[in-house]
């Protein structure tokens, strides 16, 4: 029993220590400059903000640090430290739940509804300089129930990449922005060669790709106010049958059948003559397959017209942050004409402000098809808990690719799961 008493005392002591440790940073937020030389030079009384994001390529990490350094030099009273972490979603979620979130953090449009529903985000979108300058489709991507939460930092759209050598060898005209589904299918068929193991098109069983076809067919995931799912429509079936049909007929294949980790790799290796990826494929191909000759054009139009997907990330400001005004100012700079130009001049992701369009295109004319997508791109954002629908469609399409499931069955299942999610 002696152990018990000492244990109790130690436990008390420990909890006291933990409590005091928790209290310290809150009591004196700016007293201790963070490790690292730049912050140390900040004058007393300066606000220190943390910007958290995920680590990407070295080039991007360095460029973002440069942009942040530029802000810090010009604004001694607001100092931003950049924290790029791996396993971002888990890290963000635990710091939000722990009540000490970073002041500014990346928010993917797909994740936005969950964070907004949890009240984790301060709506700052409308406080930005010249809000109307952002592409409407991208503002829409960060709007939930009429509230524009956070300004998009950059974006990528899906486009059609094609291997010019394979097209020339097959004696085919290069794809153009005027292509229709039939052109895509016909070209994929002609480019498929059993002997060389080359297929016309590489697509994965992935909702994030098929959905472009859904919109091109004139279909919708749900009705406008998300009160009912509409994946049981004839348009959705047409899109699913077209997508799965390409694979079942052998004109297209998922990356795993082409000894690749993702379609971009299959395309780079020359195992697929076409693929549909976003801007991220450009630095990848340049780095891994520098000799590959390829072109980029807009996705083909379906029976319902043109459509592509915009994948975008915004700078969110934590609702329960301590320096939200300062954080909003920093975000306004980062997504403002000057900060965004400095960031997107790297050429990896595209500027979300229409006023930067011409200047950017002058530097990267070959990426025009991707930038054009902004005019008709759809948002990659649904309702809280939509991850269940995403998983269900992906799982269904994986089976449909092997022939174990019909297109109709995949959609029926997704429709039913979607209704459950909307009813929650």
């Amino acid at each position: 029993m002696k152990i018990k008493l000492s244990m109790l005392l130690s436990a008390l002591l420990l909890s006291a220590m933990i409590l005091s440790a928790c209290a310290t940073p809150a009591a004196q937020p700016a007293a201790q400059p963070a490790a690292g030389g730049e912050q140390a030079a900040a004058p007393a009384g300066a606000v220190n903000l943390q910007l958290m994001g995920w680590a990407s390529s070295d080039a991007e990490n360095v460029r973002l640090q440069e942009v942040v350094d530029g802000w810090n030099a010009a604004n001694p009273d607001i100092q931003v430290s950049l924290n790029l972490v791996p396993d971002y979603d888990t890290k963000l979620q635990t710091s939000l739940a722990g009540g000490a979130p970073p002041d500014i953090f990346y928010v993917d449009s797909f994740r936005l509804p969950d964070l907004a529903a949890a009240g984790a985000l301060l709506p700052i979108g409308d406080k930005m300089t010249n809000v109307d300058d952002f592409y409407p489709s991208l503002r829409e991507a960060f709007t939930v129930d009429g509230v524009f939460y956070c300004p998009p930092k950059d974006f990528s759209t899906l486009a059609l990449e094609y291997n010019t050598d394979l097209f020339d060898a097959a004696g085919l005209e290069h794809p153009t922005a005027d292509w229709k589904w039939d052109d895509l299918r016909a070209a994929a068929e002609k480019l498929t060669n059993k002997d060389t193991g080359v297929v016309g098109f590489s697509i994965n069983p992935d909702f994030a790709r098929w959905i472009a076809f859904l919109y091109q067919a004139g279909g919708e995931v749900a009705n406008a106010d998300f009160s009912a799912m509409t994946l049981d429509s004839p348009e959705a079936l047409q899109a699913m049958e077209f997508y799965v049909g390409l694979v079942r007929d052998g004109f297209a294949a998922p990356a795993s059948d082409l000894d690749s980790g993702w379609p971009g790799e299959a395309f780079g290796k020359g195992r697929a003559a076409m693929t549909m990826e976003g801007n991220w494929i450009v630095p990848y191909l340049k780095d891994q397959f520098p000799d590959l000759k390829y072109g980029i054009t807009e996705l083909p139009a379906g029976p319902g017209g043109k459509a592509t997907m915009a994948f975008t990330v915004c700078y969110g400001v934590a609702a329960n942050g301590k320096n939200t005004d300062a954080a909003t100012k920093v975000v306004d700079y980062l997504t403002g004409p000057e900060g965004m130009k400095a960031w997107t001049d790297l050429g990896l992701a595209m500027p979300t402000r229409q006023s930067l369009r011409e200047g950017w295109l002058a530097q990267y004319p070959n990426l025009e098809p991707m930038l054009n997508g902004a005019d008709y791109a759809r948002k990659w954002q649904f309702r809280p808990g939509f991850g269940d629908v995403l998983d269900t469609i992906n799982a269904g399409m994986q089976e449909a690719f092997t022939g174990a499931k019909t297109a109709q069955a995949v959609l029926n299942e997704a429709q039913s799961v979607g209704e459950q999610v909307l009813a929650r």
Binding site: I3, S6, M7, S10, A11, L14, D89, T90, Q93, L96, A97, G99, D114, L115, A117, A118, G119, A120, P205, P254, S256, D257, L258, D259, G261, N320, P384, G385, G387, D388, D391, T392, N394, A395, G396, Q398, E399, T402, A404, S416, V417, Q420, V421
Partner: protein
């Protein structure tokens, strides 16, 4: 002693207590935990009694995990015992070399090994090449980690039994999954992870068996040899009964380990293809961290604990029963 107890309390008891508490709330895992609403047994009702995607996913994960466990535990136990007996031989040369090399996978980073196996399992990867060579080209290469076909489904297919020709009772729904789905067997992708998992855990199990084998008195073996027992009799009549407590321990460890498999799924398949590698532990992670349903995730974790606990009790009963 005391510091250890405190650490234990802080890092084990308190988290367990909170996990149990959260399983009765609707906490989303994002907003401060204090804001979570108490919902009683709602999470458990959804998981066990409400027909829908959440129950379907839970039982699918349970099914996958059960197949995983049924495949891995006997395989790793048998192979580990076999290896232990082999490297325990007195007359074996390079004994240390073999012991070290068999133990090596166990101490290598599981993430690194998983990444490596992703390459081995590719369509033009080493596994397919070896199979092609030993079957003189009869083996049709498959993309292991992208193949959702169940083992039993493939076998059923040889006898002309497919989803289309399956009798009506096979299409009936039991706990949100069709009987046909329950009888899928592990998918090709899951078998890939099973092989990997067996390979990485054998070493540890072998070392445990080795310790037990070295405790068996030499005289017993000598007496058996004097009495004219052959190698097989010695193994089944002497070695096996004498290492039975260790066998129980190894099977228990295997059972717990396999029911909690997470890292290899996380790295190699993220639960795909077609949710056939979705394990219970991975489902907990997915619900907690990508679907913002931490309360539901905690409830699944609690159910997993109850399942493992029950299985261990049952298994102890069986092993103890054999003693008489």
């Amino acid at each position: 002693m005391t510091p250890a107890l405190i650490l234990f309390a802080v890092f084990v008891f308190i988290p367990i207590f909170f996990a149990i508490y959260f399983s009765f709330t609707d906490w989303n895992g994002i907003s401060p935990p204090a804001e979570a609403k108490f919902v009683g047994f709602e999470n458990f009702r959804v998981l066990l009694f409400e027909d829908g995607i959440r129950r379907a996913d839970f039982f699918k994960a349970l099914k996958n995990t059960a197949y995983f466990s049924l495949g891995v535990v006997p395989m790793q136990t048998a192979l580990a015992l076999l290896l232990a007996v082999v490297v325990n031989q007195r007359r074996l040369r390079f004994k240390s070399f073999f012991r070290t090399s068999y133990y090596f996978p166990s101490i290598t980073s599981s993430i690194a090994i998983s990444m490596l196996f992703l390459f081995l399992y590719q369509k033009n990867g080493l596994v397919n090449q070896v199979l092609e060579t030993i079957t003189f080209g009869a083996w049709e290469p498959i993309a292991w980690m992208a193949d959702p076909r169940g083992l039993f489904h493939i076998i059923f297919g040889w006898f002309g039994l497919t989803l289309e020709t399956a009798p009506a009772w096979m299409q009936a729904n039991v706990l949100s999954l069709s009987v046909w789905d329950w009888l899928s067997g592990p998918s090709v992708a899951l078998m890939g992870i099973m092989l990997l998992n067996t390979w990485t855990t054998i070493g540890t199990m072998m070392v445990i068996f080795l310790a037990a084998l070295q405790d068996v008195p030499r005289e017993v073996y000598e007496a058996a040899e004097m009495d004219g027992a052959n190698a097989r009799q010695i193994f089944f009549k002497i070695t096996l009964p004498l290492v039975r407590p260790t066998l129980f321990f190894v099977v228990t460890l295997g059972l717990i380990g396999t029911f909690q498999v997470f890292d290899q799924v996380y790295v190699m398949s993220s639960g795909g293809p077609a949710k056939t590698t979705l394990t219970v532990a991975y489902l907990v992670y997915r619900n907690g961290f990508t679907n913002s349903q931490m309360g539901l995730a905690a409830a699944i974790a609690l159910l997993l604990f109850i399942i493992i606990f029950t299985l261990t009790l049952v298994q102890r009963r069986i092993t103890e029963g054999k003693k008489e």
